[in-house]
Amino acid sequence: MRCVIHDLMIFDDEIHGLRNEKYRLEFYSRLIDFLDQHMKP
């Protein structure tokens, strides 16, 4: 099982992290999928 979110946050390239809009969108999209699929209340 792969770690769910870690890889999107760090280490891909120099322009990464919360301020980068492309990664930010990708990150939150993946987060929403995770919440919908596995963390439904």
Binding site: M1, C3, H6, F11, L31
Partner: protein, 197 residues
């Protein structure tokens, strides 16, 4: 309701220090959710294959410090990945004790605020003495216990640190306050529902 979330960490990791600080400021909300963390120290280089004491390259360093800054945390990141096994040994020996949290605070503030290298001779003993608690000043390093915890994390799916275990799901990294709280709230509600059914 009491929900305990296993949290794999390595004292050497700047992101783990950032997580430590972010979770501290979110502590009232986290307590309200009935959530606590079971901090489990691992030797991350055994999972990643990084050489011990490797020098963190500039892009990676910049990235990590940017994330810390984005989350409002100042950190003096060491130039190399320090060997945290002695500090982990003490943490494991304190598991569940009141002083366990104080040990995390002492070690992390030493590294990331005071700029100390905890794998240099005498440092761990000095940090133990600082706490004036019942901490062995120079315990024999327990690599077997650390390896066992690292294996457990690896099997659970941790590929980095910090890794939060939301049930069977490993969730890595530290996120913005609102995102962390959303994740924790969802997990608390899900756990509550499962316990009720």
């Amino acid at each position: 309701m009491n929900i305990e979330i296993p949290l794999y960490f390595d004292f050497s990791s700047t992101l783990c220090y950032v997580a430590h600080r972010v979770l501290q400021r979110l502590d009232p909300e986290i307590r309200d959710l009935g959530i606590s963390f079971d901090w489990r120290p691992i030797d991350l280089v055994r999972i990643t294959g990084w050489p011990r004491n490797f020098v963190v390259d500039k892009p990676r360093r910049k990235d990590i410090l940017r994330i810390a800054s984005d989350l409002g945390i100042a950190a003096r990141m060491p130039a190399r990945w320090i060997d945290s096994r002695a500090a982990h040994t003490i943490h494991l020996s304190l598991r569940g004790a009141v002083v366990e949290a104080a040990w995390r605070e002492r070690v992390w503030s030493a590294i990331f605020e005071e700029g100390r290298l905890i794998d240099e001779p005498g440092e761990i003993e000095r940090l133990s003495r600082d706490l004036r608690a019942d901490i062995p000043s120079a315990p024999r390093r327990n690599d077997d216990a650390i390896d066992a915890m690292t294996r457990e994390a690896h099997i659970a799916g941790a590929t980095g640190v910090p890794t939060f275990m939301f049930g069977e799901w490993p969730v890595g990294g530290i996120q913005e306050d609102h995102t962390m709280l959303t994740l924790l709230q969802r997990f608390a509600r899900k756990t509550e529902r499962e316990r009720d059914s």
